[in-house]
């Protein structure tokens, strides 16, 4: 049911009146708390950004849920990448030492291999994610929406008892 709920929300977001920019930024920024451990200082900054600017919250939540699952799979990669950045690259040792000794900065857990590895990955993916999701939303609205509605599986699903029951329950809940 959670999975169906997520897909339904995802489709709702795509069909909503929000601009492709807002949705794409939502997805792109939601990737950061999704990939990195949630209880970190940088995620508070991301949350403030999402709230202050008109960024689609539903898209950010979707990205958070989706990328949290991906993060678990890629955890060993994040650890290795973080170790290389924090230990192996000698040119970065001084900046890290400065940061380690500075107030507040250590509270960000920047010196944790998984935090560093996943944060760097999320930042690197930020713009590609934004552009990809922007293209994706536009493409969906322009042509895929109508085509997907015609898919047999969608029709079968829409006509299935399970979906009808679920829709009724949702209406009752509303």
């Amino acid at each position: 049911m959670i999975f169906l709920k997520l897909i339904s929300k995802f489709i709702k977001v795509l069909r909503s009146g929000a601009s492709p920019n807002q949705i794409a930024w939502g997805f792109a920024l939601g990737t950061i708390p999704g990939l990195t451990p949630l209880a970190c200082l940088h995620n508070l900054f991301v949350l403030i950004l999402i709230i202050i600017f008109k960024i689609n919250l539903a898209a950010a939540t979707m990205a958070l849920a989706l990328f949290s699952f991906i993060a678990w799979i890629f955890d060993p990669f994040f650890h290795n990448l973080g170790f290389i950045i924090l230990v192996r690259i000698s040119a970065l040792q001084n900046p890290w030492t400065e940061l380690y000794n500075a107030p507040v900065a250590p509270l960000s857990f920047f010196n944790n291999t998984v935090v560093m590895g996943s944060l760097v990955t999320a930042i690197v993916l930020l713009l590609p994610n934004y552009f990809f999701f922007k293209w994706f939303v536009r493409r969906y609205r322009d042509s895929w929406n109508a085509k997907i509605d015609k898919w047999k599986i969608v029709k079968v699903l829409k006509g299935s008892k399970l979906v009808k029951v679920y829709t009724k329950i949702r209406r009752l809940e509303a």
Partner: protein, 624 residues
Amino acid sequence: MRWKGLIFLAVVIALGVILSIFFLDKWVESGLEKAGSAMVGAKVEIDGLDLDVANLSIEWQRLQVTDPNSTMQNVIETGRTAFRMDMAALLRKKTVIREMTLADVRTGTPRETDGAIPKKPKKEKKSDKQDLFDKTKAKLTAEIQNLPVMDFDPARLKKSLNLDSLIAMAELTMPQKLDSSKADVIETTQNWEKFFKDFQPEEDLQKIRTTIQQIDPQKIKTIPELASALEKVQSSHKTLKTLQDTVKVRQQKFKTDFNRSGSYVRNIDDWYKADYNRILAKAKLPDLSVKNIGMMLFGSTVVHRVNQTLGTVQRIREYMPKKTDKVEKKKPERLKGQTIHYANRHRYPEFLIERAHLSGQTGSTEDAPGLILQGDASGINSQPWVYGKPTEVNLSGRKGDGRSIHLLATLDHVQDIARDRFEVNMDRVSLNNVSIQESAYLPSKIQKGVAAIQAIADFEGDRFDISLNVTASNLGFDFSSMNTSNRFVAIVQDVIRNLNTVTLNARIFGQGDDLSMKMDSNLDDRVSRELQNIGSKALREAQNKVRGRLNAIKSEKMAEVDKLYKAKRAEFQKKMDEYEEKVEEQRVAAEAKIDQIRKDMESRKKAEENKLKDKAKEALDGLF
């Protein structure tokens, strides 16, 4: 700008702050309790925690740390405790407490509820250091478990000494070795019999004798004939020399062969002794001169305490690791990652209590306050190489009646090699109802007694040296629970009852796998002497029985070998001596004959020479 969102965020933050005001104390209290319980292995409970965020101060009314070995009592309990955290360090994610006062500390207080926590399966220890401590602990335990068991009952000894079955079990080697010796003697004599059969010098000797006797230089007319006779005798002499060499070589071989075959005579005592000891071992006849009685009686208790100390040091080294120059990549738990530490300019370890003052008492109740304790601890931290100073603990306790305790500990993990030293001095410590490790010889509780204890434990890397000196007086055990026919236990009981003071000096030291353990007690000689007095008669009888049987076996087998060996040796020796004598006799005769012929030849030559000279003189006289 999304104003609604901002307002929402502000509301959430405000709610967070309000919730914190109401619940932060509970959250911190619960967090500290969980962390403490995980460290101790039993419940750690904090009552009335108050966190002042503005001043960064923490205060609690009561702290209870359950004794993990006895979960219905606290190993430590404190009264009101207050301390402040360092703001600058906290902003750098470090918990630094500059000064802390633990007042009204008490030990061994009873708990209202059970302080046990469900045990989680132990994770496999990975570091070499932990393995080393674990290995040492296991080795010490094994040493104690492998001590000989003293079970001595003279009556049972008499009954149970079945020599036939003991001899069968002991697999004696003396009869086998004597049989082998007999086989060797038989083979040697056969070889020599064959030799004497083949070696027949009589014929040659007779020929030589005849040749020598027949030659009479007086009867030989010419010098060439004499020279021919000399040649004959010299040839005989050469033959005799060869014979003499053969006899000499054989004489030597004879000695070697019969000395080897007769080696059983020299070895029989060793074989006898080995078999005797083997039978004693199978009969489990005790060694009454045993010296390590202190180890048998108190070994398990001492090793238990030493293992506890090793476990403490192991745990200390786990929480206060030594410096590692190179950052090693670890395989952390999923989504946990590895925290990398850099050069710390502020010298803030992750956790530090710079100075802690402690005061309290060892007694659990107001009526029996026990020793009044007072002391300081400095530099309790989780990263000693960052802090740069060793952790030091100095704690002392005293009571009006002269009882005292003094603990000094230095934990120096600043350098590459960790050095830990603990020194405990206790005077007039009450041993009333003190539990000791279970043993077959002593009850698990000391009924009464007073002791002076000095313990020093030194650790440097993987090297350690622990010494313990105990002087206990008026020692009393309740032996009524120990019903046993074991006389050793009865003797131990008597000796302890009659001794005013029992001393124990133990030292356990080693490095890596090399481990040594020494334990001396004034009980050793006393118990051993008593044991010999009581047990010697029964033991002597048993030993004589074993000796008698062994002597019979020895005599029977020895007689067989001896008879053969001695008879053949004498026979062959006689033959060899005869040959030697005869050859020598002929050699002397031949040499005399050679001498006689040579002299005769010389005199004849001289006569011929004179004749020629005279003839020449006559011829020359006619000429002039």
